[in-house]
């Protein structure tokens, strides 16, 4: 049975449609890459999945429970968020907290975990992303790559069943992209279920199990990543892939 299944998600802003019925099924351990041109609705789709944005329409089945995405109670929202992690393009680390505090904050405040236990988990997560030696640094004292790895540790600490990544490397200097991608690659190898919006086609090709091409609020093409990149079917997909490759 699928871990996450969303059906027919629609969303418009001020009357202009941004998502026009997007459906997706995610199995345990899947790594789904979402690619597509700017303004195609990728961010909006991820935000709807975690209810940072309320979809106008759509159903969700997550972890065995069904939800009406347009009418979620705050209890239901918490239920879903409790088992999901979210990694933002611009990190969004709490600026008044150290790396370790960023990771433990949700555990202590939202899950009422005691401080010692939370810090033990926090240090373990920071270690996992190679940030243990920077545990007491504030975000303003970290590079972009270090901030993003800390943000990943923060998401991991929630012991999520799935993590959403919204262009996790787009705000990074080129030389810092590798360290973040390598953390994500490790997670994928450990079997973490992830949905990754990305412009890193190489990463999508190598790491993801399935790739989705989203444009104009609809899925233009999707398929197992190997086939998707080797034999894209739609002319529009081919054009997009060609353009992306010649960007560099």
């Amino acid at each position: 049975m699928a871990l996450l299944k969303v059906n027919n998600v629609a969303k418009s802003f001020d009357g202009s449609p941004v998502l026009n019925g997007v459906s997706l099924s995610v199995e345990q351990g899947d790594v789904i890459a979402i690619i597509g041109p700017s303004g195609g609705g990728k961010t909006t789709f991820l935000r709807c999945l975690n209810f940072l944005e309320t979809a106008d329409q759509g159903t969700m089945k997550f972890d065995g429970k069904s939800y009406d995405m347009a009418h979620m109670s705050s209890k239901e929202i918490n239920e879903v968020r409790r088992h999901t992690g979210f990694v933002f393009q611009n990190y969004n680390l709490f600026r008044n907290k150290t790396a370790l505090q960023n990771v433990t904050e949700g555990l202590i405040v939202a899950r009422k975990m005691n401080k010692e236990q939370a810090e033990e988990i926090g240090m373990r997560m920071l270690e996992k992303v190679g940030m243990a030696d920077r545990a007491n640094h504030y975000p303003s004292q970290m590079s972009g790559g270090q901030q993003q790895r800390t943000a990943i540790a923060r998401a991991l600490a929630q012991s999520p069943k799935i993590i959403y990544f919204d262009e996790p490397t787009s705000a990074l200097d080129p030389e810092l992209i590798g360290e973040v991608l390598s953390v994500m690659r490790d997670l994928a190898n450990e079997g973490m279920t992830m949905i990754v919006v990305t412009h890193e086609l190489e990463f999508a090709k190598q790491v993801s199990s399935k790739t989705i091409f989203l444009e104009g609020g609809v899925i233009v093409e999707e398929g197992p990543s190997k086939e998707f990149f080797a034999h894209p079917e739609r002319p529009r997909t081919r054009e997009f892939l060609r353009l992306e490759e010649t960007r560099f």
């Binding site: 999901t84 979210f86 611009n90 600026r95 008044n96 949700g106 939202a110 901030q147 600490a157």
Partner: protein
């Protein structure tokens, strides 16, 4: 003659400073603390866009900022008794200063809260925190950091504004100086002396502000 003035200044120094310590400072501290409570609540009501309360908050700020502090003092101390509400001078002053300063600081706080990026709130939601938890632990501490210098400005302004309370018989520094001057007719010397004491108070506060800002910036401030 100048010998006499010098003696007068020395004698009066403590007579002015004493009410400064026993009245001006408590009046400032109590009023400003209450003003901060009012400011935070008023700012949060506006930020959270709570209907009705939000309109009330705007109305409160509109009225208070649009009328003179001195007139507000008169309304409470001399006006209210005529409708049967009699409040002693000191609590009247505290009430007016708190309500007045609260309106100005509310605007400072609102701007500071709005300057915290929306992503901070969203990140909080994503780790399971609720609105009030995120406000208290993430957004307000950052907002305070931004608001600290302007709030401290308001505090320094308030120390000086407390002199207006003399008009409603609060025996603070200005009131004390007026009485000595009325007896001795040394207006120039005494009011300059009073000005100097206010300047000392402000200077101490300015120092405190610098220390406070240094502490707050120890982790590099609010930059990303």
């Amino acid at each position: 003659m100048s010998q006499n003035i010098l003696q007068l200044l020395l004698d009066s120094f403590w007579k002015i400073l004493l009410p400064g310590i026993t009245v001006t400072i408590p009046l400032t501290v109590i009023s400003f603390s209450l003003a901060m409570v009012i400011a935070i609540i008023t700012a949060m009501i506006q930020y959270a866009k709570i209907p009705v309360l939000r309109q009330l908050a705007r109305f409160y700020i509109w009225v208070i900022r649009g009328t003179p502090l001195l007139v507000q003092l008169y309304v409470v101390f001399f006006g209210l008794p005529s409708i049967g509400i009699r409040v002693a001078a000191f609590p009247s002053a505290v009430t007016v200063f708190a309500i007045n300063e609260g309106a100005y600081c509310a605007e400072t706080m609102r701007a500071a809260i709005e300057s915290v990026p929306a992503g901070q709130m969203e990140a909080g939601y994503c780790v399971g925190m609720n609105y009030l938890q995120i406000m208290r632990r993430i957004v307000l501490p950052q907002a305070f950091r931004t608001a600290f210098p302007p709030l401290f400005n308001s505090l320094i302004g308030m120390v000086k504004d407390t002199s207006l309370a003399a008009n409603i018989t609060v025996a603070e520094m200005f009131f004390a100086t007026q009485r000595i001057a009325g007896r001795t007719y040394q207006f120039m010397a005494l009011y300059l002396e009073l000005a100097l004491i206010y300047l000392i108070f402000s200077t101490v506060l300015t120092r405190l502000q610098a220390l406070g800002e240094k502490r707050l910036n120890s982790y590099g401030g609010n930059k990303n």
